[in-house]
């Protein structure tokens, strides 16, 4: 067991910190804090600066715009983005999720066409899975793709999709044939979103990240944009979901929220009041344990391994702690804790007020807590149906 970072990994972290501290980055982050309601804080410019150095996708091969580093450096990037307060959802969807699909199953032509642009910060891709009647049970999806002789016409509605308002492409799960089972006949397409037959509109929710509804009404997609096997994407979707399920993106949020609480409590003297301080150290231990679970999985990925049960545990654990952190952040301040960042007098700049609105989504997205418990019970403990 060796829980230390290599000198090279430490140096990458220091380089990132120095970059995020640059005035050009800080200036943008200050601007983002002043975003109006319903305008999502996101900066493609910061991504592009990272992309210039191969840092937006540090673990990708250099030929695809990465820096040829490992899963460890990719995780360090996520930690440091969160620490600096750089919005990361576009990065998660484009690089960590869709990029991973292309690395796993893309053709050489697809890799060349999409990966360098994504790694440069010039292309945004979102994920189009969920439908009005298909959530946790994704294999029940009903969006159809019909072959018209040259390509495919897509019909169906995708909802609750994040970052699609910024995206040029969406990775859509569709049904290309009625198979023998509901797992057969599923195909993934990279759908150009700014074309005829695609309607995008916001579904406003309580968090600061917008949901999108994407109506596909005869949107045409070339067969060159099929990712993975025609009719046979189900297994690929599950492979990618489990690789993506490290808990990393959740843990970095928990750390950021709790650090804000600790800093605030130190300033107000509440850190030494056991009524607040005890809850803080309880959560601090949980976030620390969550960090270790995440890094355990990252180190597995670095070796090309993955324990799906451990990954489900990490996702479950790192998101369940969220509601307690958000609740403490609000409670600690009393009613002032419910002031939003647009009020001007919100403690912690409204970060924990926003966390309270965001955290119910964390135990739902990328596999609900119930699905995680099901995986742990069925696969790990070999119990349950």
């Amino acid at each position: 067991m060796d829980l230390s970072f290599s000198a090279e990994e430490d140096e990458f972290r220091q380089d990132l910190r120095a970059f995020f501290a640059e005035e050009r980055v800080q200036g943008i982050l200050r601007e983002l804090e002043r975003c109006k309601p319903r305008v999502e804080a996101h900066s493609q410019q910061i991504y592009q600066w990272l992309g210039e150095r191969g840092w937006l996708a540090p673990n990708w091969p250099v030929e695809y715009g990465g820096a040829g580093k490992t899963a460890v450096e990719a995780a360090i990037l996520s930690e440091e983005m969160a620490r600096a307060g750089v919005p990361d959802t576009v990065h998660v969807n484009t690089v960590e999720i869709v990029g991973l699909f292309l690395l796993l199953a893309g053709t050489d032509e697809q890799k060349k066409r999409f990966l360098p642009a994504m790694a440069r910060g010039d292309m945004v891709v979102s994920v189009l899975y969920t439908e009005p009647n298909s959530g946790s049970d994704l294999s029940s999806l009903s969006t159809r793709a019909v072959f018209d002789g040259d390509g495919y016409l897509l019909y169906g509605t995708k909802i609750y999709s994040l970052t699609t308002q910024f995206a040029q492409y969406g990775l859509a799960a569709t049904r290309t044939r009625g198979g023998m089972s509901k797992y057969d006949g599923i195909t993934l397409f990279l759908v150009p979103l700014r074309e005829r037959g695609v309607g995008i509109r916001p579904l406003w929710n309580i968090s600061d990240e917008r949901f999108n509804e994407v109506v596909l009404d005869g949107a045409w997609v070339s067969p060159d944009n099929i990712v993975g096997p025609l009719h046979g994407a189900w297994e690929l979707i599950n492979t990618a979901l489990s690789i993506e399920r490290t808990g990393l993106d959740y843990y970095v949020k928990m750390r950021r929220w709790l650090d804000a609480i600790i800093a605030r409590a130190a300033k107000t003297g509440r850190l030494e009041d056991p009524r607040i301080g005890h809850e803080i150290v309880r959560l601090d231990a949980q976030v620390e344990a969550g960090r270790l679970m995440v890094w355990d999985i990252i180190s597995q990925l670095q070796r090309g391994e993955l324990d799906n049960v451990q990954a489900a545990m990490s996702k479950w654990y790192n998101t369940e702690v969220g509601r307690h952190i958000a609740r403490l952040g609000v409670d600690m301040e009393g009613l002032a804790g419910t002031l939003s960042r647009w009020d001007g007098e919100a403690p912690m700049g409204g970060l924990l007020e926003a966390a309270y609105r965001e955290c119910p989504g964390l135990t739902i997205s990328a596999g609900t807590s119930e699905i995680m418990l099901y995986v742990i019970a069925a696969v790990g403990l070999e119990i349950g149906d």
Binding site: A266, L271, A285, A289, L292, Q300, I383
Partner: protein, 392 residues
Amino acid sequence: MDFRPSDELKMLKTTCARFFAAKFPADAGRRAERDLGAGSQRGPGQGFDPALWKAFADLGVLQLTLPEAAGGAGLGQGGAAVVAEEIGRALYQSPWADTVTAADIIVQAGPAGAGWALLEGVAAGACTIAMAVRERGQDDPAALSALRVTATAAGDGFTISGQKLFVPFGEAVDRLMVAAATPHGPTMFLVPRDRAGIEVRRSDDTGRGEFCSIDFAATPASRADIAGAPGGAAGPYAAALARARVRHAAYLVGLCQGALDVTIKYTKEREQFGRAIASFQAISFRLAALAARIDAARHLAGYGAWLGDGSNDGSDDLHDLRRIAAGALAMAGELARDVTAESMQMHGSFGFSEEAEPQRYYRRAAVDALLLGTPVQLRDEAMALLAARAPA
């Protein structure tokens, strides 16, 4: 970054697990416990079993944390945490934990301090030591500042007077490490248990273990009996306690895993409404959540052990180790009560029976969750440590 245990640690784990499976199965564990309310009355095979202890010591489990100069074998706190977890899984009660902690203090004092010559015996299991720290009205095992047991000057040496409580295996050990107030400050004395003026009475507690109260009536002690410097106990004890807490957190993780394994097995076999009760999500989801929490606690204890091994080189001020140790032990202590209470619930009335395993885990959790600090005391310490490093 690599979380995998080394081959040596894996082998150590297997060795311990096989030892307990062969020499200390669940029924042996039940037989070793005294009857409820038995006080000092020992039935056959109850209490400390010297033959079993010798066989356990022969595995090398007492050498792990000792320096080479004192017969140590170098797997360190990481190795000790592995052993502690297997002890917890098997619920084996022995002087192992306190002997390792006392040896830590002896080692810190160096070859000139008391007990260095005993370390060879410690490594072989021939010399066992119990920590005598707690007192009436002084239930915080971290606090040496207000001790009522005193060592007053008498001739060239001291006499120790007062009462210590909750001394594990106080009847069975060879030596006692006694924290006493002196005019110089808190001081650790290492004395043979059969020295004059020492009276031992076994307590009767939920765990049915081997806690004793010990009365010291003008027990003589010399300067040569002092581990470390007169008045200098606080620093070495705090460091040893932090490492002991990490090992104890690992022990509790093992206890939790043992209770969970027993419960999974039972709920797969027990049928109601025509199916195994484990197939109901009302059961399986709760077990899955506990499994994830155990995994979290195991990671935190493992991190503590890793920090503990780095804490020997003198480069660290122990701040992180003490904070993680307190946090990990508070987490493991809360979890042990949660897991064992759920285990009782899922076993139904059967879990209460004397011949059932869940009640043993449940009773041990009551004692072991508090042994090196209650979760509240531990959080108090962690809070102060966090505040000391918080952004200004």
